[in-house]
């Protein structure tokens, strides 16, 4: 395995946000079949160590490409833009207002008349925003508008967190009922 290859090349896929997840899983399985330590369990220590390293790399690559936000960040990183923890891009005011309103609705939903339905509705809305932002990101990336792609990532980090909070609220409701 050539660990200098980028993750897309590793799986023999086009470097693009649009990804055939089915194909990714299949390639992942093929590579695991070749490199997994279990395939080298009866060989020497060196082979086994190399197998562990190769599979760890493979797992990292798979996880990155499988998860949309990680995949988007990785694509931007390949363009030389690191959007890790340090991403402090200013976000447009209207977006932040919208996020605050959504968070308020989350608090209200959990304590309202029909919390399950309210949370459901909110989840649908958040996921809609997420999907729209991903296509924005993709368009910006294709057009090489890296600044705008970076802002999309920052927004997606917000939306992602909101979705996780909605799910956590649903879990808490399930506990109660």
């Amino acid at each position: 395995m050539d660990i200098a290859q980028n993750f897309f090349e590793l799986f023999g896929l086009d470097t693009s946000f649009d990804l055939d997840l089915q194909l990714l899983s299949e390639r992942y399985r093929e590579l695991q079949r070749e490199h997994h330590p279990d395939r080298h369990a009866h060989k020497g220590e060196r082979e086994q160590r190399l197998a562990v390293q190769a599979t760890a790399h493979l797992n990292e690559a798979f996880e990155t490409l499988k998860t949309p936000l990680l995949r988007a960040q990785y694509l931007l990183k390949l363009e030389g833009v690191d959007t890790g923890e340090e991403n402090r891009r200013q976000l447009p005011g209207p977006f932040l207002m919208q996020q605050m309103e959504l968070r308020e609705s989350l608090v209200e939903a959990a304590s309202g008349q029909d919390p399950f339905e309210a949370l459901d509705k909110l989840a649908v809305e958040a996921k809609g925003l997420e999907a729209a932002e991903y296509s924005q990101f993709n368009a910006a990336l294709v057009a090489q508008e890296l600044d705008s792609a970076e802002i999309s990532i920052r927004k997606l980090q917000f939306i992602n967190k909101l979705i996780r909070e909605i799910e956590a609220a649903e879990d808490r409701l399930d506990e109660e009922y």
Partner: protein, 624 residues
């Protein structure tokens, strides 16, 4: 004409000769060894034709230890030297062992290593050594019945075993002279025995009711990846409890009668045999020991008695499904493990709950060993074309202690292994030259609630301002779920590594509890986390202010100003001892405000001193 080749005795000429590999189910009550012969996986028996080896070891002064049934016979007459259920102590600390002391009749010895040692006639022995004696017996049985040395073994462990418990199991195998091809999760092994790994995807429930424990595991299978979604159960519920309720009932049927110890034991044995016969028969006629009374026991009677116990296991299944986030409709297969799943009421109740007939074709006592043997055969290289590939996940998250007793997770649970992940950390104080790396496992946010796996120090960091040093800590988890940690200071390349080899571990029920608590205590954790964060923030401000006063106080502050500041610092110090994150936050804000003038004076003074002796020209160049 070709020359005839003559092989040295014992060496084969055939490069394709099968390698001998076994699967071992190292159980709490019983152990088994299995192998694949002529394409069929089967358990191996001793010379008397008995397959099950009780996990019991008896130690005496001069003779080698007795293992199995012979050792079990000694349990009554020589309890201190007859070790049972040693699996419960694997990978656990001396203090854990003391807590279990009430259940276990052994004398524990302080060893200084953190591992509990048991005092026996053959000396003080660790759980690893005792387990190794059981494994040696299985190894000997396998070599005798297969006629050669073993290439290696797959040993099964409960899915929720943490790093310490897995490491202890591997150590025991090494001590027994076994080459461990892989540690395999017990429920995964059971699923493999039924060939469920060949399906494209699905969710599998493994219901394991043994003699003394009950485990439920929910696994997700996605194109060759077996992922443990949730585990649950009851470490003090099993088939033995069925025997007890039936024995009590038999006593009541006998009416007023005083039972001595030996008759009670006889009753218990009778209850067990009645339970076993009722799996095939509807009614058993018997004579009660002691009173000589004639009695008929029907299956309906028995079902009525054990119903509450079975219901308890079903409730645990319900909880596990919820933890896993799946519904009963999503469960495609239910696999039965453990002798007690032969009870018809257990089978029907499980079938009813999951709305599908459970798999019962393979002997539930042997199914785990058989799955392990199938995997061992592949790992030894006997089936190069095999499609089977089991990808495992990390059972519990791994992390590091950060300031304030918080745990920063580096690898989350259910991440596919092997995996390597690096995280960068920095120093907390100016001039800090060493850093303690504390590795933890668990789902909670505070160090005290997680399991400490290892501590090591990275020394020789060059003195720098707080936050300037960059220390990269790398975690590497291999396919067995065992961890290696290394730390490296990036500017100097100074390195330190440790193979995480803790001397003790968590109990099964503790792990179950920790997992459950990680969900139910999420709110508490968030509050605790925010309290700790505020405390860290306060400490940081206090320490910075104190060192600033020590350095520049006499030069930049009047006596009164210095006194006032120190008084304000003390106020905040007292606040940090409290439990209110909000109060500390406000205190930090306040101290920052009242010390602001001092900070500006220091800033001015340092700019002035920085500019002294610099030409304006240089300053401009720097700027522009």
């Amino acid at each position: 004409m070709a020359l005839l080749q003559i092989a040295e005795p014992g060496l084969s000429l055939d490069p394709h000769q099968r390698k001998l590999a076994v699967g071992i189910d190292l159980g709490t009550t019983n152990s088994l060894v299995a192998t694949v012969r002529n394409g069929v996986a089967e358990t191996l028996s001793d010379s008397d034709g008995v397959h099950i080896l009780p996990s019991v070891v008896h130690y005496s002064e001069a003779k080698p230890p007795l293992v199995g049934q012979q050792a079990a016979f000694k349990a009554n007459q020589d309890p201190y030297n007859t070790v049972q259920s040693i699996k419960r102590l694997m990978g656990r600390s001396a203090s854990d062992a003391l807590q279990l002391g009430e259940q276990l009749p052994y004398e524990f010895v302080e060893s200084g290593t953190g591992m509990p040692y048991l005092r026996t006639a053959a000396g003080d022995l660790s759980p690893v050594q005792i387990s190794a004696d059981i494994l040696k017996a299985l190894n000997a049985r396998a070599e005798q019945s297969l006629g050669g040395e073993l290439e290696g073994a797959v040993i099964t462990v409960p899915a929720y075993f943490d790093d310490a418990q897995r490491q202890a199991t591997k150590d025991a195998a090494q001590l027994a002279g076994l080459n461990v091809l892989r540690l395999l999760n017990e429920p995964t092994a059971a699923a493999v025995a039924y060939g469920l790994d060949q399906q494209d995807k699905g969710v599998v429930a493994v219901y394991d009711l043994g003699g003394g424990t009950f485990d439920i595991s929910i696994l997700r299978l996605t194109r060759g990846v077996f992922e443990v979604l949730a585990t649950g159960g009851d470490s003090a519920l099993g088939g033995d409890d069925f025997d007890h309720v039936l024995a009590n009932w038999l006593m009541q049927q006998g009416g007023e009668h005083q039972y001595d110890a030996s008759t009670t034991r006889e009753l218990l044995g009778l209850a067990r045999s009645v339970k076993e016969r009722l799996t095939a028969e509807e009614q058993i006629n018997l004579t009660l020991p002691g009173t000589g009374k004639q009695l008929a026991v029907t299956r309906a009677d028995f079902n009525e008695l054990v119903k509450p116990l079975v219901a308890k296991t079903i409730r645990a299944c319900k909880r596990a499904l919820k933890d896993a986030g799946v519904t009963t409709e999503e469960i495609q297969d239910v696999v039965m493990v453990g002798g007690s799943t032969r009870v018809p009421l257990v089978q029907s109740s499980v079938g009813e709950f999951f709305q599908r007939a459970p798999h019962i074709d393979i002997d539930p006592d042997r199914v785990v060993a058989i799955g392990a043997a199938l995997q061992a055969d592949i790992l030894a290289g006997n089936k190069p074309d095999s499609e089977l590939l089991l990808l495992d996940v990390l059972p519990l998250s791994l992390g590091l202690e950060t300031m304030g007793g918080l745990v920063e997770k580096v690898i989350h649970r259910n991440t596919a292994i092997p995996v390597a992940r690096a995280q960068e950390f920095t120093t907390y104080q100016d001039g800090q030259t060493a850093m303690l790396v504390h590795v933890l496992q668990g789902e909670r946010e505070l160090v005290d609630h997680c399991r400490s796996l290892a501590r090591f120090e990275l020394r020789g960091i060059p003195p720098m301002a707080a936050g300037a040093a960059k220390i990269r800590v790398t975690f590497q988890v291999d396919a067995d779920g065992l961890l290696n940690v290394s730390a490296k200071e990036l500017s100097t390349g100074i390195e330190s590594a440790v193979q995480v080899k803790p001397s003790y571990g968590l109990s099964d029920s503790e792990i179950t509890r920790m997992l459950q608590e990680s969900y139910s205590n999420a709110q508490d954790d968030r509050e605790a986390r925010s309290l700790r964060e505020q405390q860290v923030e306060a400490d940081r401000l206090i320490s910075a202010l104190r060192s600033a006063i020590a350095e520049d106080g006499s030069r930049l502050l009047s006596e009164q100003e210095a006194k006032d500041l120190l008084a304000e610092i003390e106020v905040l110090e007292n606040l940090t001892k409290g439990e209110s994150a909000g109060a500390i936050e406000a205190g930090v804000e306040h101290l920052a405000q009242v010390s602001d003038f001092f900070a500006s004076r220091r800033m001015d003074s340092s700019i002035q001193s920085a500019l002294q002796g610099q030409s304006v020209d240089y300053f401009e160049k720097e700027k522009g």
